[in-house]
């Protein structure tokens, strides 16, 4: 049985619409226009125990809303969800003791006190046995290398250090399910890497189930075997990361290294020229036409070397996201 089950899960918000200017503000005092935004539109999803799943999608796609629904912060408009057999929005303590949510942009620690005070509070509210608490805390602080920072007020920690403390606070009660909402947002490359390495190690060791949203392809590539692409509140893709390219890119990138005597113009007829840096020419060619076109190029030009590659993942995903249309965002009557 899946540890997380979503069935036709939907959430819509009513958002106040205000035109620019003072006049519109005054009109808004008497008559308000609302727009119904369907953040999540009938999502079906099963996640097995021990999976590390990434939610990818443009801003406003419904990723965070889905995590909020699963952690019981908000109630859905329609549909069902079960996490470890619990309905999240019932907010039962038995459920709340078994999952954690970490939001990269939100702080759950006490700002003015050292992190260890917040940890102690978590020990009490999650009812963690003292021995287990100490063992987990020692393990986590060692893995994240923050042992010396425990006694420093949280407000005096760097963003990266604070994120590590947030992760420790979230993992102290050894949750079976962890929701991570952009855990590496705003971090430098080194800090991102550290957090990634930690998450990877921890997930493999404990076999916990993790749902992650992130904008960084590196996070996703490093961590998740399974990727769920959400756009306009619906699942557009569910599979491996590399599978996205097969499903959504009909092109290959062909790089030609020309012979010294060969002119670098006249390649437009074979495909879209992306870059000309003699003696190098880069072309985008339709996947099905690659063998035929390559044969023609080799036949007509003096070529030293050829490389055929998939387009960069970022590019494929950016294209996928840009196909966003507004069809489904209905205007509701005021």
């Amino acid at each position: 049985m899946a540890i997380i089950e979503l069935r036709a899960l939907s959430k819509s918000y009513r958002v106040y619409q205000k035109a620019e200017g003072l006049r519109a503000s005054i009109r808004g005092l008497f008559r308000r226009e609302y727009r119904e935004v369907q953040a999540v539109r009938g999502i079906d999803l099963d996640v097995e125990q021990g999976e590390f799943v990434a939610f990818l999608g443009p801003n406003g796609a419904g990723k965070t809303t889905t995590l909020k629904l699963l952690s019981g912060v908000i109630n859905p408009t329609a549909g069902e969800a079960l996490v470890m057999g619990f309905v999240p929005w019932k907010r039962e303590n038995a459920y709340r003791r078994r999952f954690a949510l970490v939001m990269g942009q939100k702080n759950q620690l006490w700002w003015d006190l050292p992190a260890q005070e917040s940890f102690r509070l978590h020990q009490q509210i999650y009812r963690i046995e003292p021995a287990a608490y100490q063992a987990t805390l020692d393990e986590l602080t060692a893995l994240l290398d923050v042992g010396t920072l425990l006694r420093q007020p949280v407000r005096e920690l760097s963003l990266g250090e604070r994120m590590k403390m947030e992760l420790i606070a979230a993992l102290l009660h050894s949750p079976d399910v962890l929701f991570l909402d952009e855990p590496t947002i705003g971090l430098d490359v080194v800090a991102q890497h550290n957090i990634q390495q930690f998450l990877k190690f921890y997930q493999q060791r404990r076999r916990i189930t993790i749902l992650l949203t992130s904008h960084y392809m590196k996070d996703v590539g490093a961590l998740c075997q399974r990727v769920v692409v959400i756009a306009q509140g619906q699942i557009r893709y569910d599979g491996s990361l590399s599978g996205i390219i097969d499903s959504f890119s009909g092109h290959k990138i062909v790089t030609l290294l020309l012979d010294q005597q060969q002119a670098s113009n006249g390649f437009e007829r074979f495909g879209q020229v992306l870059e000309v840096q003699p003696p190098k020419v880069k072309l985008r060619i339709e996947r099905s036409a690659v063998p035929r076109t390559l044969a023609a190029i080799l036949d007509q030009h003096a070529i030293v070397d050829v490389a055929v590659e998939d387009p960069p993942l970022e590019e494929v995903i950016a294209r996928l996201f840009s196909q966003v249309d507004e069809r489904y965002q209905q205007r509701a009557a005021p």
Binding site: T64, V73, L101, K106, L113, L121, H122, I125, D181
Partner: protein, 276 residues
Amino acid sequence: MDSRTLAWWTIFRIGLEERLVYRGDFALATLMRFLPIITQIFLWWAVFDSVGGVQSQAKIVGYRFENVVAYYLLTMVSRAFSSVPGLASGIARQIRSGEIKKFLIQPVDMIGFLMLSRIAHKTAYYTVATIPFAIVFYLCRGYFVDGWPEPSTLAAFGLSLILGFLLGFFLETTIGLIGFWFLEISSLLFVYMLLSYFLSGHMFPLDMLPAPWNLLVDVMPLKYLAYFPSAVFLGKVTGPDLVRELSICAAWVVFFVILSRVMYHRGVKRYSGYGG
């Protein structure tokens, strides 16, 4: 200690520690409480001067100058219990910024948590403020013309202070929770503060009010925040009246406990988890 008690104790302890982080602010806030009362006493000094001077036996609506000073000193004590600065605005801010999520995700009750933090803040405050309060009361002992009250009156006074704290806490919590429906509540809060200043007895003794205003304050809960404990101490409310008033105050506390619970429950349901 069982695990629940231990959790509450930890919240209390951390609240206490948090309060002591900003030492300067804490010390200033503690001492500044004495400032408004001095201006009020000077104001009444001037008023009594115009009817024959503070030394005379002149009375204004039943109050001699000494009675007025004693009243204000006691009001200061009542307010030290019943005021919960920043509670309502803090709750509304947490709703708007999304910080409130933490209470939805973690197995801890928000209202209980806030209450323990406030008790911790109050404890820190009383610990430090007891000495200046004692000095002020000692210096002003001459104003308590009827002497120190009976132990039973003192017990009723203590009870009225505790009820005052509970009422102040749950009343402000209820106002803060309105933030679930109207994200911005600062104007509403301003109106409440203004009403509370007049109708709680903070500004002047409420029994100075003529009819029908005295009836108005009588049916409102605000008088239990400042006027009522002082009146108990001064022996203005005794016998069956005292029992009746204490019961009404307790009933108001229960009313706001239930109202805040219902509002929290409904508010969370319609909450849309603002801010990422």
